[in-house]
Symmetry: C3
Subunit: 208 residues, 3 copies
Amino acid sequence: MDWVAADYSSLLWWLDMTGTFVFGLSGGMLAVRRQLDLFGVIVLATAAATAGGAIRDMAIGDQPAAVLRDPSYLLVTFAAGLTAFFLHRLIERASRPVMLLDALGLGTFTIAGTQKALIFGLHPASACMIGVLSAVGGGVVRDLLVTEIPRVLREEIYAVAAIIGAVLVVLGDRSGWPPLATAAIALAATFLIRILSVRLGLRIPRAP
Amino acid sequence: MDWVAADYSSLLWWLDMTGTFVFGLSGGMLAVRRQLDLFGVIVLATAAATAGGAIRDMAIGDQPAAVLRDPSYLLVTFAAGLTAFFLHRLIERASRPVMLLDALGLGTFTIAGTQKALIFGLHPASACMIGVLSAVGGGVVRDLLVTEIPRVLREEIYAVAAIIGAVLVVLGDRSGWPPLATAAIALAATFLIRILSVRLGLRIPRAP
Amino acid sequence: MDWVAADYSSLLWWLDMTGTFVFGLSGGMLAVRRQLDLFGVIVLATAAATAGGAIRDMAIGDQPAAVLRDPSYLLVTFAAGLTAFFLHRLIERASRPVMLLDALGLGTFTIAGTQKALIFGLHPASACMIGVLSAVGGGVVRDLLVTEIPRVLREEIYAVAAIIGAVLVVLGDRSGWPPLATAAIALAATFLIRILSVRLGLRIPRAP
């Protein structure tokens, strides 16, 4: 049914823009904390929100990268940067909703990235890697730009939630689940694992 | 008239090589200051001069990247690296001409990058982003390689000059100005804004 | 003779996987030393082993990148990460064999990268640059991810061995030597120069 496909892709677009905005906020907030100027705030917002997808597209060969084809991405990251610049105190206090939205963005980026890699014919293992890279790559570039060891390498079960989401997308694709159901299950899993890991303070083991 | 096009593209090539050399110098000088060996000096010269254009080409899908197609780029960056290695004291004292040439390189790289992105059919906003990335990306990679927060994020109106140049290129393209006139205006604007910002010590605001 | 070609490419594959494993070990060991968790260990192993080749493929336009087409690469880097995680004490003590294997990986990656760039029609100078970038790029990304100045910029004749190997590949290609002989000579040269430089403590000059 066409209206399902249309609704689904429109839903995906909105989820994608939400993820872009929240990841942009994370970049903008880090820039404010590191006392960068307005340009630096917008650069870090853009890097955090778009670098993961740009690396994904360059690695699989979908060029120009999606972020360059739909100007909505740049508009949304600029809005996120300006929001961080002018409202950083407000956002600092709203750490809980920001964390929830960030978990949503993590799920959306992972699922969209993994699905795209599968569509480009990648092996399931490569598709998972690309999905996770889409979701965490922006944060890595954001942190490196201010010479911090990327948070995803230091803290909490962030990437693990993305890995499980990516594996679920691949499983669903292999098992012939309806794409909408696959995406919903993978999104819910990524989101909940991320939220629970923060709540329960779960950590991944270090070397013995 | 063909000879205008030929002259124009030959002029662009010379401007491009000038920018490549000066950006290469900036990388080589940083490497000397950080006491890297000869290989490190040449790597930083190459990164500073070519990484911006390479990222641009990978993002828009023009491959092999331009720097790999015309060996003049590598020749010029090697020359810049060797110059920095052997003549760093001389260059240190010539900070004013180096700054002027750097402002010229900033303008050239911005304009060439933005024009190329427009030729590849990118949206004007994306073309501006790619133009600015072409011009400042090399400096970002240069600074990250020695784990410094990129200068463009910390100091002065460097990127803003590039942004204005890129916007002028897009405006000229949209308004049907002759490409040569557009390039000249955008180059002059980028160059002058950069020079004036250094002279007057202008800065971009930080978050309130 | 087909069996020569088959043997040659099968040999290259095994050398490539050996290089991937040892480079992966180097990433995993650095991550353990910096007390990253299991995910971080695997990320650094993957970055060290695959980022050089991925940058090579994105720059020359061979997409999806080779690391995404043959899942063996990911399998081998995961194995290297897990080995570093669980056996880091053992590996620490086996520094000499690890260094020998690393020199082998340096040679293999350089030669494979340079040959690939020549096959893609690049200028010899560009092919050398791409060959060296294939071999040292992974280590650069590995070190930047933990905000260290890349070892290749700080220490010993590592890159120089790769440069000589790449030049030999180009020379052999130009002079019509049999590919197998070219590869063998270039591999031996890179390997021996690297080993000797460590033994003799050779260094590249710093700026006067």
